[in-house]
Symmetry: C3
Subunit: 467 residues, 3 copies
């Protein structure tokens, strides 16, 4: 069997026994997925997924990045080129190429997630290899045609109580409307991600801004009109269930300029005349503006900073964004968040959730900040830090200062649909492993650990995100 | 029972067995507390502590910080406001509010320390909760009136062999004089903390400097007189038992200017005309001056850098300093300490102890520096790094390069009196847990581990601090 | 017995059992030592080593650094002074001084390496101490005179399949020629380390450059001639077995200037008129030039950055380089490597191996970079990070993102000949310990773990370095 019942639990029998007992109390809890990138169209149309490669390989940059690092051209994995030139189009060939490199994923989370999907979704309990690639392809492809493998059926099978997608400020949210109109009971909400109309360095910013004005009827070339447009779109998103906004800036910088200075800066932004420094300042100012809007409308503010995007220009030219070439950089939060925290950090009814790709900030900056400011909570391990070892380090590095209750449960943050239950299961197991050690070392009683396990698996995400 | 005999020991039976045996040899060693913030007045007057909230909640920023982060106003915890406006004055109400938030401390060191005090000092072996808050309050309040619970009796019960308080350069040390005059045998020494007359950016620096001159009779507006005043005060402190000075700068920067440059810089300091950069340079210069004075008078130089103090201005305005809003920042030691080390780093009779709030510097900078320079020793985990997981990381990150003998044992660094035995106990247990793993993995023999355990628990602190 | 069969394996019986089984399959594999600093003269002349102190104490900065940090003057350890003044010359006295400080090495890798050498090379299974120092000295001294203890015999006893030394660009490689001419079958290759003719801040750079020209007959004062001289020397080194170049810069900075800009910069270099910034830029440019040459000649490019060399000027004045006063500094790779990666990072046939002394970059920068770029591989823990705890952290911090197959096995990087089998043994044991945990936690199957163990111990180094 691929999936051992005790996977990810420490080997010591006492600790493992505690971990098992804790996990047994939470394994079947519904999934709260408060931040992610699934496609709402899946749930709106509820069409079958095309084939194994299109479902499991092509959209997963954790997977094609690893193959690329070992010399496999992305063309051979069917990743479309911007110039439209030919790439591999046979999903079976892609699948087999992937299978022949399966050893590369030893020790990685992709391995855990993928095998969880194989086993729990498709009932496949053998290790992928060149030898069985064809047979497994057929089995999965066949299943995908069955009604039980359509997006909504899987949603229910996965016990997803609520899931948030992420849409740009200009999105019309038609798939969300279609989901609601369909009468289907699955709770799929959106999140407000305004980078394209907020980051002066975003591709096509000027055109985006114009569209932002057209969409809202506001004079978005004036500072007050621009803010009003955001307020209006936030309301539009909230009406489609949004409970959060999300911001993916290069740094965690925030600012809190006077109205006059903000207006002057915005005028430069509109004129397309900002320096890199001013663009960064503007993004920082907008985080504080968003936080202030949150005071009124209740959206949770998520800050996902610290990725050097599109690090590989040759890849970017050929394939575009999100090709696995986003690399974390060193982060600073203490000075960066100060303007925002000065403005709204003491507000107990505001929730700002900070994430990081730089785990050196956990014990030094983020846990101390989250352990002090009422408005600030600490998001879970994200992206390069979303795997078992990193999850354990997250708890080890933050709990002693911030405790459990200044964290917000788990985020899967994925567009790989089938990995969602796998990721939540890994997070639950890792938290139980951590808690079991605390209990085995007599640092926490088991009844308390069980309560914490439940909180981390379910309650904290639900409450922090108001879902 | 709240306190399990095996707490903090790894669950693996072999390792736990070794840890137990090691710990048994050191558990009853006297406490050397070479750096901390207890109030010497306690020992001078030996009056009963007022009530449970005043003893255990109000002075402990680890505790009220956590409640504040979850939306509890400091006013409700009885923290006095600078404007004198009304705050909660009923200690029982404060205690009950605290008790109702006890779950927040799961997984934190405060939990361990607090329960150790409840159990070992008050004989209370039940978990704090809203249900028993009243009863426990009464029990503690009652005990506090007994002679056995006065500061000196507790000192003896805690087996404190020596404790250092910390006083500012302008302090008259009258409580220390009173302790000595009393004939009581407890060894309570002071430490020289001259920040208020050394840091040009300290609140009231100009007035402090004037007072410094009045107190010493030196011309402290001249560079040579200023240095002479420090020498005089160091002597005054040494006569009250001081064996160390302590310096809490924002960075670890040191400098070693020519006499002419130092004089010119000091003239600007006196004139109140230093830039932020020059203020930092002056603090750095003074660390080297202090090290040079240490060559003569033997005081150990402690450097406690890296906190962004008073990060929350609204809190600072309302409540002042030390309200849990001091946040660590990223540190650099290799270039920062070089001027001081160039000047005195090769002196085998000098002891400079460097601390950090940024554990990323342990393996990269501090262990390599302490593993080379005869004058430099590495202080233990401090503040946000003083809890079990962080203590283990400290050993794991420093031992391979610096060994055990370039470290200096444990510092509790606390003003929470009842937590002192608890903190030392946690440190001893964590060191035994670390050593037990080395033994279980055949990296160290058990007889050697026992010697190291004794050194870490007792000898190294005593020798490094010359107590 | 000093060396327990289970040393470095986790104490938990299940995990230890797996680790034992894995290790049994790789313990006797030959050693691939692709990067190090042994003296080729040893293998050329095959003369006996002089005495225990000269073999084991004096050349090992891990050892004398630790004694120095505790106040032992280097003169007493026989380290020669630059001014020729007298230092201890009695090897027995040095040995005894060392033995009397043996406790300092508790918990350090030196302890493990040294005892491995004592036991496996000299059959000594007692702990070094002042009491047995004389006796052990005699025993080792006696053995060193036997034929079985000469360099080549040890080479064979150590099962070294291939070892790389490191020589400067100006070295005539005569010892390597002599090894080859001798008919001895041991594979000892060189590596091209051109720092002395590439780093404008290297001692004697101008004279070195002249010698570089004389040696190659190229016009090394012109940019094209300078590059041609490097190509010629690389060929000369390749003919003596070199498969790699190595570069020990202060930072990981790379550059990819236009030809005109490179020429202009080189003209300044030749004129001795570069600023510190320009010197750094030139070093960065040369890394990219070297990578481009590697595309042609197949040498693997090793980057060993991040040490602040000769941090202690007093020591440097007295004793020179490599005296244990090189201190790691904070590193940055994401921006630093970008110019080189932009130029050649997508080349699947190029191998660039990045090392670090700053482990905070493992999960944040190096694993993400190595997990993406086909040309980039991640070197193992190096120097301050080459001991058991650090090796485990290396795997824990990199595997989830980069997997095992973007790493390159182990490098001992030592001039301490007798520590080579010990270091490889420690690395193999630590990797088995890590893999055993993955197996025990059902994250990897044991048959796969065995394959990975073999790869990490042997195949990856052999293939990455083309040995």
């Amino acid at each position: 069997m691929l999936l051992h019942d005790d996977r990810l639990f420490p080997s010591d029998p006492v600790t493992r026994g505690i971990a098992r007992r804790l996990y047994a109390t939470i394994r079947d809890l519904p999934i709260i997925s408060p931040h992610g990138h699934t496609d709402p169209r899946w749930f709106a149309e509820d069409q079958p997924f095309a084939d194994p490669a299109t479902l499991l390989v092509k959209p997963d940059h954790y997977i094609f990045r690893m193959l690329y690092s070992q010399g496999v051209p992305l063309e051979k994995l069917g990743i479309p080129r911007k110039d439209g030139s030919k790439v591999e189009s046979d999903p079976r060939a892609i699948w087999k190429l992937f299978a022949s490199h399966w050893h590369l994923f030893r020790g990685t989370p992709s391995r855990l997630w993928f095998e969880h999907a194989l086993s729990s979704v498709f009932g496949i309990n053998e290790r992928l290899s060149s030898d069985n690639a064809d047979r497994l392809y057929d089995r999965i492809a066949e299943k995908l045609q069955e009604p039980d493998y359509r997006p909504r059926a899987l949603f229910e099978r996965f016990k997803i109580e609520a899931i948030s997608t992420t849409e740009g400020a200009l999105d019309d949210l038609k798939w969300h409307d279609m989901i609601r109109a369909s009468g289907w009971g699955g709770k799929v909400v959106t999140a407000y991600r305004p980078d394209s109309v907020l980051d002066p360095e975003f591709e096509g910013f000027a055109a985006n801004l114009e569209q932002f004005g057209a969409l809202t009827g506001e004079d978005v070339m004036s500072w007050s009109g621009y803010l009003a447009a955001h307020r209006q779109r936030r309301d539009y998103f909230r009406e489609r269930g949004a409970t959060s906004s999300d911001h993916g800036h290069a740094t965690a910088r925030t600012a809190n300029l006077s109205k006059a200075d903000a207006e002057a800066l915005f005028a430069k932004v509109v004129a397309g005349k900002v320096s890199a420094e001013e663009a960064d300042l503007f993004r920082g100012q907008m985080l504080t503006e968003m936080a202030k809007m949150s005071l009124d409308d209740g959206l949770v503010l998520q800050i996902h900073p610290g990725s050097s995007r599109n690090h590989n220009p040759r890849l970017f030219e050929r394939f575009g964004r999100d090709m696995g070439a986003d690399i974390p950089v060193r982060m600073e939060y203490v000075a960066a968040l100060k303007p925002l925290l000065d403005a709204v950090g003491n507000e107990p009814n505001l929730t700002v959730i900070a994430f990081t790709l730089d785990e050196t900030t956990y014990s030094r900056e983020l846990a101390p900040l989250a352990g002090h400011y009422p408005a600030l909570k600490l998001g879970p391990g994200w992206w390069f830090l979303d795997a078992p070892e990193a999850m354990l380090r997250f708890r080890e590095l933050t709990t002693e200062t911030a405790g459990f209750y200044n964290t917000v449960g788990f985020n899967d943050d994925t567009r790989a649909y089938l990995s969602i239950p796998a990721r939540h299961d890994v997070a639950r197991r890792c938290d139980c492993a951590y808690l079991a050690r605390l209990v085995a070392e007599h640092r926490l009683d088991e009844d308390e650990a069980a309560e914490v396990a439940h909180d981390l698996a379910y309650r904290l995400a639900k409450e922090a995100y108001r879902l």
